[in-house]
Amino acid sequence: MRHIVSILLENEAGALSRVSGLFSARGYNIESLTVAPTEDATLSRMTIVTSGSDEVIEQITKQLNKLVDVVKVVDLSDGEHIERELMLVKVRAIGKDREEMKRMADIFRGRIIDVTDKDYTIELTGTGSKLDAFLKAIDRAAILETVRTGASGIGRGDRVLRA
């Protein structure tokens, strides 16, 4: 099953490799991984999307907690949460496709953030499945390039992860 795990860790050199090394050494999956410093610059917040049986997920959270640089770990999938991913897509936009592409971007609440006479770059935010849906909805041949951040997650309401 898919899980989204949130980690608060020391913003130290090598902290990321401790986490990624743990996943590869123990054969856990990483679907996506995002990390950046928080409002407290000594801390980083990481979101990992992974999959596995309940036993595997339990081990993943325990093993993560064991890393000396890790301050806190929470499996967001355990409760109400929100997740968002950012995607930038460069698409061909010539002739009559130009208008159609603009319309599709609007429908998906995307924003065109760069324009040339041949292409658009569209910024799109949402859950992973929404981004997938956009890519399916447009003409595949029109896609020149995509770049996705991977999911970031946060608990709903008073579910707060802090040091």
């Binding site: 020391e10 090598g14 490799s17 401790r18 036993e55 339990e58 081990q59 000396v68 890790v70 040091a163």
Partner: protein, 565 residues
Amino acid sequence: MSMTGAEIVVRCLQEEGVEHVFGYPGGAVLFLYDALFKQTRVKHVLVRHEQGAIHAADGYARSTDKPGVALVTSGPGVTNAITGIATAYMDSIPLVILTGQVPTAAIGQDAFQECDTVGITRPCVKHNFLVKDVRELASTIKKAFYIASTGRPGPVVVDIPKDVTTHQCDFEYPEKVAMRSYNPVVKAHSGQIKKAIQVLMEAKRPMVYTGGGIILGDAAPQLTRLVRLLGLPCTNTLMGLGGFPATDRHFLGMLGMHGTYEANMAMQHCDVLLAIGARFDDRVIGNPKHFFEEPRTIIHIDIDPSSISKRVKVDIPIVGNVREVLEELLRGLEASKARPDEEALKTWWTQIELWRGRDCLKYDHTSAIIKPQSVIQKLYEVTGGKAYVTSDVGQHQMWAAQFYKFDEPRRWINSGGLGTMGFGLPAAVGVQLAHPDSAVACVTGEASIQMCIQELSTCKQYRLPIKVVNLNNKYMGMVRQWQEFFHGNRYAESYMDALPDFVKLAESYGHVGMRIDKPEDVEPALIEAFSRKKDLVFMDFTTDQTENVFPMVPGGKGLSEMILV
């Protein structure tokens, strides 16, 4: 007072009460060696290979309750140390390893003797540090000792670039360490302990299974009290030997792949299993599916939450320091009058005695060729069971575990997790330095001993009167045994031709060498060797080449599916 980085490192070691540093100098650590040279409190022990330095520090740590300390240079110094570090990591041994690094400006430039120490050691350390600022040196070393020796212990590497050892700053050694990201659990959940007591009281066929955690957690007295109080059968893992007195009638011997018949059968057929400081690894429970064919309630006490429900599903997990948990368990038991069902326990013991009657460790006592088991048995008798015994890895290790009855913790020193051939002799160096007046035996084989034979030279330099018990069957015995059982007697590359003359070899290092070929000479040789209090004696026993370790649970088989002699 302003000091150089090198002086700070040495002062930190003094503050930590470090007696011995095991190491080998090199370019990146020259200032550190210079600082060591200028003082006398911390004694440096010069090994002959960095692997030996780590194993020696490891042996020192295992036989005491103090962390071992090693010092190696950058690049090859570090890569040579990796096997030692991984060995300590697998067995959760507290070590602080100081490694030299090229100067900060040269890092990443493919400099001479540069390697990514933090990267290379990361998967086999509890934690590691690269210190780029001399002002962080003292606090980092403090953290290293703290992390290494608290929680589930383990090796910690502190990588120090050469220029940092020359930079100056004021020295201040922190008294305490506070880390928001590292707070090992000590006190266990009382409710869980109450539940555990209740389940134990209702057990009809209870069993206690303990591992290295009892040794590392210094909980042998508590375990012994608990087992005797309730009259339960008890088994130890390879790492846990000495956690419970082997001569006590409650002790069923070691369990696992080469465990006793009675221990493995009782483990398989118990209805309540109390597991303490053990991790149900593949060499212990065999095939997990087969293990679960028999229903049982499992109580698991461990300081590391990730060891619980990792390989087997646990019913009552208790996370905490094993000694504290056992103390609380004992208080609870002593306060109540409840005891396990006496009749059921009696029936259970009757069954266990039947299994014990199988005499699974029997061997031919009339052989004209020396039986390796008999050497260990004589070693046990000659040393009165009081020796510190280190071992290498293979058949001799299993025979030592089966036939030397350890009544005390920290006497049995071996590489259980990683299974590192070459561990025994350098480990004995650390053990003998920690216990200069005690008998230290290194049980080994002609294959293992050659992997770190160079440390015979270290033994000479420090006059270490270690007794090497070499069970020489000219084969990598355990490899040969598997080839006999599972590979149609095809002994691919397991026969060692062109062995050195170990007697002459020992003599060339300045030690005493003995060759023992006849069974009747075994005991006199051991008596003579141990009476030489000042000499390292290398005893080369010519043993039966065909002997195998029994019982044996073949890989993938269940615990009760043993091959018996």
